[in-house]
Point group: C2
Chain length 157, copies 2
């Protein structure tokens, strides 16, 4: 298994390097199921004009399409860099089993990609975060949740 | 401004309720710039088969396309429910200025959408998380970062 792991990580690294030549950041990821790569992703934030298009998110979306399933249990992700909090959360939502990473978030910080600020903010209670966050109309918002609860034939996830 | 805020939140709530009838979870979001809604999102995880398609992510992607800019500074997001860590991180990456939310994450937990597990996991050091995470081939991965550093004509973000 060790050699396979290296092989999959090398493909993620190859994508990260290739992406620099394609007007993207130096990040690549692959998703593996049953010892085969089923999806590839690179950072497309600037090229796709999409702030959510990190390599892992792109790979997760492709893997879900490929498997026709939003649940990626049984899959592993190999990413050229330690996931940011957005990507790590997406990995949990997708129920991916294992994460392999190359560079650390400190390596990323050194070349100008600093997600430690976001890691710090997420840990804080709402009122202490730098982004102003306000609750509004909760009494009206809860109606949607009530209707969901009452629904009998729904796809839970 | 207060009335405008309520109006925008009501649209997010309306989307959350409407989405239940469209085979989606009870979540809606709108992004506002210069006092006008520029993007709408609903939860499309099951309907789009995309584990990342939370209402906020969908709205952020649409807003970036609409403005032709991955930087959404000057925008506010109104979401029918407190953002999960994935969406909150995406809000930071997109540089959105303000967040308004209706339901709390505890309200969401009560109807089966529990993101507190992810909030807890993110706070932990890698080796204490439930998802097995392994560093591999950092010496090779760092090459991509070196190439990025050496690049002179790049779009930083």
């Amino acid at each position: 298994m060790k050699n396979h792991d290296n092989e999959f990580m090398r493909e993620a690294i190859r994508l990260s390097v290739e992406n620099i030549g394609n007007n993207g950041g130096p990040f690549g990821a692959v998703i593996v199921k049953d010892n085969a790569i089923i999806a590839r992703g690179t950072n497309r934030v600037t090229s796709s004009i999409d702030p959510t298009a990190h390599a892992e998110i792109v790979a997760i979306r492709e893997a879900a399409t490929k498997l026709n399933n939003f649940d990626l249990s049984g899959c592993a992700i190999y990413t050229s860099c330690e996931p940011c909090p957005m990507c790590l959360s997406a990995i949990y939502w997708a129920r991916i089993d294992r994460v392999f990473y190359g560079n650390t978030k400190d390596d990323a910080k050194k070349i100008g990609f600093d997600d430690s600020f976001i890691y710090d903010e997420i840990k804080l209670p709402i009122e202490k975060r730098t982004i102003t966050t306000t609750q509004l109309l909760r009494d009206e918002a809860i109606e949607g949740f009530r209707k969901w609860e009452e629904l009998e034939d729904k796809t839970e996830y």
